[in-house]
Amino acid sequence: MSIEPDQKITRRRLLRQGAAGSALLAAGPLLASSPARAAELRHTADARAAASIKKGGTLTFARSVAPTQLDPANSIIAGDVYTLDKIMEPLYVTSPAGALTPWLAESHTVSSDNLTWTFNLRKGVKFSNGNALTAKDVVFSIHRAATNKNGPLSFLDAAIKTIKASGSNQVVVKLSEPWAPFLSDISVFANAIIPANYGGVTEKAFFAKPVGTGPFVLNSFSPSSNLTLMPNRHYWQSGKPYVDKVQINYVSDDNQRVLQLQGGQAEIIDAVPPANVASLKATSGIDIGLFAAWEVDLLVFNEKLPYFADRHVRRAITHAIDREALVKATSFGTAKPGGSFFPPSLQYYAANTPLLNFSLSAAKAELAQSKYPHGFSTKLLISGGVQKWSEFAQVIQQALAPLNIKVAITALDHAAYEQAFQGFHYEMFIDYAINDISDPDEMASFEVDVKNGGSTSYWSSYDNPTAISLVHKAEAEFNDAKRADLYAQIQAIVAGDAPFVPLDYPPYIYGTTSKVNGFAVNPGGAYRLENVWLS
């Protein structure tokens, strides 16, 4: 059995080491990229963990999002995704450091033409009903996800041409074209494995009480409300999970979650408001974890409008926004200022991307070269009720005033806001872009490939044929160094064209009581609870 080193070295321990811990946390991806160092740490952590782990207890988790249903192939909202992944697991998972890790598959091989991928299943894995995991189950599950017309993430399986079992322990996938992100795609929660033909019951009955290979089984579930998980007695990682029960409570109110943590009613809370971080850090018995996310907050320009079609205008606005100051004013030191449209935690992030840094004189010079040297009036659309967006909007409004760009802020409720920007009924809008998988192709194509990316370049209509061609090249490139170079070029082009301003890189912020050990979150926002124990 192999567990990735960073899961063994619990973030809790790192967090308790204060500044040094923070530095190590930030270096998470670095640790994973150094096998010798990782092995050393794993050895030390294994020894420490084995000596101190306590079993038992109920883990109460107050979450800002509610589970509504548990079908992996039909899920996209966090409340569903981060619940069902405790019950059903894919062939590979993404570790807290962002690395792909063999999970239900022990290993895989790729043919020389990069079209045939063979997955060797882990032996001895059983579903929670006691039945052994077979290749037939994998074929059924992935085929179901790939062909689901309404599947929010079924596009990630688009490269699959055929999927077949080869014996009971091997699955062979043939792709329609060489597709470098495939291993990442296969690791997405939508491709979680369930018993073939739902184990003999109807689809509806199955997902009311799903069976999976995950560390937990569903005990009770009230849709859009609370949920209880109990340990899976057949879990393939023997001895895990450590806790006797997980109680997931839906607590949407930020204050209530923080108070539940302070009052000892919840052991873990998610989405801690940045404004509360400092005071909670100073509270004895409470720890705060900042986990790097594949997430970027963006200011997006509607290039269908003449002034935002002008590259100089977009560059001028990018120069005019002081992202360091914006982050300081709004994130209470939790986020990092934006630069590249790839977040630093994402694979192939290029730290040396040439950026349009804050400079009012450069902003004025750019605007002077545009068709709108004397400025113009525009509107900024935000989702109402999100404090951060409102603060961002005000900072941007003030930042653009020296360019004589007058910004009127429009706040709509979330559904109306989404409909507005997705229908191009906006001039500028603020949103967050996320990557669901460890490979950056999703973010690159979604934000750059105007025709095939699925979002008209994040609803900006940005169209740069060179960047699009590089995105396609990177999708078919299997050499790591060459892919890195292609993505560096894409990041440089996008930074120069400025179709959107990456405002900041916010982390996932979790609060835990000191009783909680072994809790870690991957950059996609997923957390595995089989390693969590209560002291």
Partner: protein, 296 residues
């Protein structure tokens, strides 16, 4: 009720926002969004949808939630008890706080006690429920650890314990109005001849106040209480959010955000029905207390 159902339906469909987009996420293709809307019948004309909705309603079919796929009836059934318990406890608290405060104020007219009660009423009116709730949690749950911070609790004792702070918070929103109303009512009765006669007969002040004055002043207060219970039902949206009680009000809020039309429509109807029922019960009780009131 048909008016409420029609208004809810039309307002929901007039507000921008696509339920399929909310569920399928940003990666959804236009085709999959259209397919999902088709499966819900949202691609039909508004008139067609409306006729179908009213027809289903007549057959007591509330449909399934767009978000979870479960029946709306089961979603409501799982939460209605929570909300009813909250409203019930809040009402009890409101009465328990109102009667003594109004009695003290009325019996000490224009003196310190009266001014204090009236001042507190004005202060109470200005305090929003979400703020009061947080302060109560901070004091009684986080620092004194006497009561739970939030959630529904488990077991009958746990449920009741978990409802104390939310019930008190909800009650405080209506207490100021009730106190002022009962005080005025009591003052009117205090000046009545029969009160002077009872005092002259040697009845104690407490007995006069509670047994005779309060009882006679109760009718207008009861009417006001009935109206305010209806207000309480509406205010559960905020109180449930602050105290993480997954009741009807909270589900309503979630469902509006997600554009879960069947759930919003059904909860609105249930809340409207409950308001009608509360007003009916209030009238019946008032008629029982005061023989002069007769239902026609």
């Amino acid at each position: 009720m048909i008016g409420v159902a029609s208004a809810t339906f039309l307002l929901l469909h007039a507000v921008p926002g696509d339920p399929a987009r909310e569920i399928l996420g940003e990666h959804a293709t236009a085709r999959s969004v259209a397919a999902l809307n088709h499966s819900w019948g949202l691609d039909r004309s508004l008139w067609h949808q409306f006729v179908r909705y009213i027809g289903d309603l007549a057959r007591l079919r509330l449909g399934n939630s767009f978000v979870s796929g479960t029946s709306v009836t089961s979603l409501i059934a799982a939460r209605i008890g929570q909300t009813a318990a909250l409203v019930g406890i809040a009402t009890v608290f409101a009465v328990l706080i109102t009667v003594p405060l109004a009695a003290v104020a009325a019996s000490h007219r224009d003196r310190v006690h009266d001014h204090a009660v009236r001042g507190l009423s004005v202060l109470g009116l200005g305090m929003p429920s979400f703020w009061v709730g947080i302060v109560l949690i901070e004091v009684f749950a986080v620092h004194l650890k006497l009561l739970p911070v939030g959630g529904a609790g488990s077991g009958i004792g746990g449920h009741l314990e978990a409802l104390i702070l939310p019930g008190f918070t909800a009650a405080l929103a209506i207490v100021p109005l009730l106190v002022r109303s009962l005080r005025v009512g009591m003052l009117e009765v205090l000046n009545a001849d029969f009160v002077a006669a009872e005092r002259a007969n040697g009845l104690g002040e407490v007995r006069v106040l509670v047994w005779h004055v309060a009882r006679n002043a109760l009718i207008p207060t009861l009417t006001l209480l009935g109206l305010n219970i209806a207000y309480l039902v509406g205010s559960t949206v905020i109180v449930e959010q602050v105290f993480a009680l997954n009741g009807l009000g909270f589900l309503l809020l979630q469902s509006i955000t997600a554009r879960d039309f069947p759930v919003v429509q059904a909860i609105t109807l249930v809340l409207a029905l409950s308001v009608v029922a509360i007003n009916l019960v209030t009238d019946l009780v008032a008629a029982r207390l005061d023989p002069r009131i007769r239902l026609r």
